[in-house]
């Protein structure tokens, strides 16, 4: 039935959109605290997945592999913060962005130099069986991934609402100077933020890795997250979620309903064009009013 098929496509799109949101949230975390659009988020994701898989393949128990990977991610985050971002403090945002572009090259190269370039399979133990819910077929893996991503978002929200560090993070995001003035330690907050971004990268890396195989192209999911960010705003977690859902849905619907007429393969750019079209109508993005530039 036509309607049922449409729903299937839409739900599939929304679910895969959650995976985009997950990647985008990693960006938002860093952007909110340091104003950096961290292009290396994709490379971090690749590094996390690759490290985890390689450790697990070497016989480490899963929990140990996860812990070690997390430790590595935190270390890398701290390293990036100290050696790259801190010397560039007060530089224009676009300079910082280009620096993270450099960082992504370094991490991609290092990850593959360290762990090799072959494709690793990653089995999370979830069968990708179609589930029927209300007459609509849904991939159980998608459902699982969406649930994990949802849990992740909830955990982050709780973290930022109820822990001291989390509250500090919000203070820094609102006003760095004020946060400094009341004696919040930026060092600790930044460490926490990079760790959080590392956790997000690991979770996203595992989900995406299970889907695509753990390999270089994993770092390209960053390109999926960018239109999401443009739609939802670089500094809004809610925006990342809604933007991800929209991008996921638009991509799948376009692929099914438009793709066949133009030879397919449009998922590489449709999200960009959609986000761009949207921005041209509403330059302020999904949320928030457009600020008037002060002079």
């Amino acid at each position: 039935m036509e309607w049922q098929f449409f729903t299937e496509v839409l739900v599939g799109g929304l679910l895969s959109g959650v995976m985009y949101s997950l990647v985008a949230i990693g960006f938002v975390l860093i952007y909110k605290t340091s104003g950096v659009l961290n292009f290396a988020q994709g490379a971090l994701l690749l590094f996390a997945a690759l490290t985890f898989v390689s450790l697990a393949e070497r016989g480490l128990p899963v929990w140990a592999a996860i812990l070690l990977t997390l430790a590595a991610m935190t270390l890398i985050g701290a390293l990036i913060e100290r050696t790259v971002l801190r010397p560039l403090v007060n530089q224009p945002p676009i300079t910082l962005f280009m620096a993270t572009l450099g960082v992504s090259y370094v991490i991609e190269g290092a990850a593959q130099l360290l762990w090799g370039t072959q494709v690793h399979g990653l089995d999370l133990g979830i069968d990708d069986l179609p589930l029927e819910i209300g007459g609509v077929l849904i991939s159980s893996f998608d459902l699982f991934a969406a649930a994990v991503a949802g849990a992740m978002v909830a955990a982050l929200t709780l973290f930022f609402r109820y822990t001291r560090i989390g509250l500090g993070f919000r203070a820094v995001a609102d006003d760095q100077l004020a946060a400094l003035a009341v004696g919040l330690s930026l060092d600790r907050i930044w460490t926490a933020v990079w760790t959080a971004a590392g956790v997000v990268a690991l979770v996203a890396g595992l989900l995406w890795g299970a889907r695509l195989g753990v390999q270089f192209s994993l770092s390209l999911v960053v390109l999926k997250a960018l239109p999401v960010l443009v739609l939802g705003g670089f500094d809004s977690i809610a925006g990342a979620i809604v933007g991800g859902l929209i991008v996921g849905a638009v991509e799948k619907l376009a692929e099914v309903y438009v793709g066949p007429f133009v030879g397919g393969g449009i998922e590489g750019w449709i999200a960009y064009v959609a986000a761009l079209g949207f921005l041209l109508i509403r330059p302020s993005g999904l949320f928030g009013a457009k600020p008037v530039e002060r002079v």
């Binding site: 009013a289 008037v292 530039e293 002079v295």
Partner: protein
């Protein structure tokens, strides 16, 4: 630009001379903050008009509305015989209006001369190809702009730094370069947003002289935002006082000095201001 309603009308007159600038019932708010509320006043040609008021009173917002950078929620602006609901910034220079900014707004990567010559951009007619090929018309145009810029540099004693990148100059000098850039087009109306903030006493005195000369020798009408009451009293013909977005007084320096409302709202605290006066 459909947003811009422009109709030639006779602007409200001060006596029987048409005003150089008039605003009528301007209101503007940002979210919950009222920056301007029902402001009306007129500036006569050749006048030096100061706008004063405490921080956040809406002075910069007023100039930004007049130069079209902010769009007012309601009210109109009369400029050069036209009335606007929103002033078209792109046509500002052609209307004979130029301005400086509260925060430095120079083109840091360009030389001082190029910064000042850029103030004549709206007069350039030659196309980009003509410029690249170097057709005579393009060359003449450019030489003229440079000659005028040189004149202004001499006028403001900036010859020495003519070829320095603007971004490398001391703060006070940059402020002066900005004034030169605004003056080079010989504007009929010159809007200055705190041109002396952060200057030393001598620098302020020099600049006051330049501003007066801009009126006397170059024939500009001047609207000037300034916190230094001493400078304001000495320099201006009339003073408008803003407080919380409202125009609480408008008159000669003597009127203002003795106005109890102004003393309450602003002058009473002016002494504190002078010490830690911001940029």
């Amino acid at each position: 630009m459909p947003a811009v309603l422009s109709e030639p009308v006779v602007p409200p007159a001060n006596g029987n001379v048409p005003s150089a600038l008039a605003v009528e019932a301007l209101s503007l708010s940002f979210g919950g903050v009222t920056a301007l509320s029902d402001i009306s006043f007129a500036v006569a040609p050749g006048e030096i008009r100061a706008v004063i008021g405490p921080n956040g009173a809406g002075k910069s917002s007023l100039l930004n509305v007049v130069s079209g950078l902010y769009r007012p929620d309601s009210g109109r602006v009369w400029l050069g015989g036209h009335s606007f609901a929103a002033v078209p910034t792109d046509r500002l220079a052609t209307l004979g209006v130029s301005r400086t900014f509260q925060n430095l707004a120079l083109f840091k990567g360009l030389s001082v001369l190029d910064n000042v010559a850029a103030g004549l951009s709206h007069r350039l007619r030659a196309g980009v190809l003509a410029q690249v090929i170097g057709l005579p018309a393009a060359r003449r145009e450019r030489a003229e702009a440079q000659a005028k810029a040189e004149e202004l540099l001499a006028f403001l004693h900036l010859d020495d730094v003519r070829d320095r990148p603007a971004g490398t100059l001391p703060y006070g000098t940059q402020k002066r370069v900005e004034l030169a850039r605004a003056l080079v087009s010989r504007p009929r109306l010159l809007l200055l947003d705190e041109p002396m903030a952060g200057m030393t006493l001598t620098e302020k005195r020099d600049l006051s002289g330049h501003i007066r000369a801009a009126r006397d020798d170059l024939g500009a009408t001047i609207v000037l935002i300034e916190h230094d009451i001493g400078v304001v009293m000495g320099l201006s013909d009339r003073i408008a006082v803003l407080d919380y977005g409202r125009l609480i007084a408008d008159g000669t320096p003597d009127d203002i000095r003795n106005d109890p409302v102004v003393i309450d709202a602003y002058l009473g605290v002016a002494h504190d201001l002078e010490a830690g006066e911001g940029i």
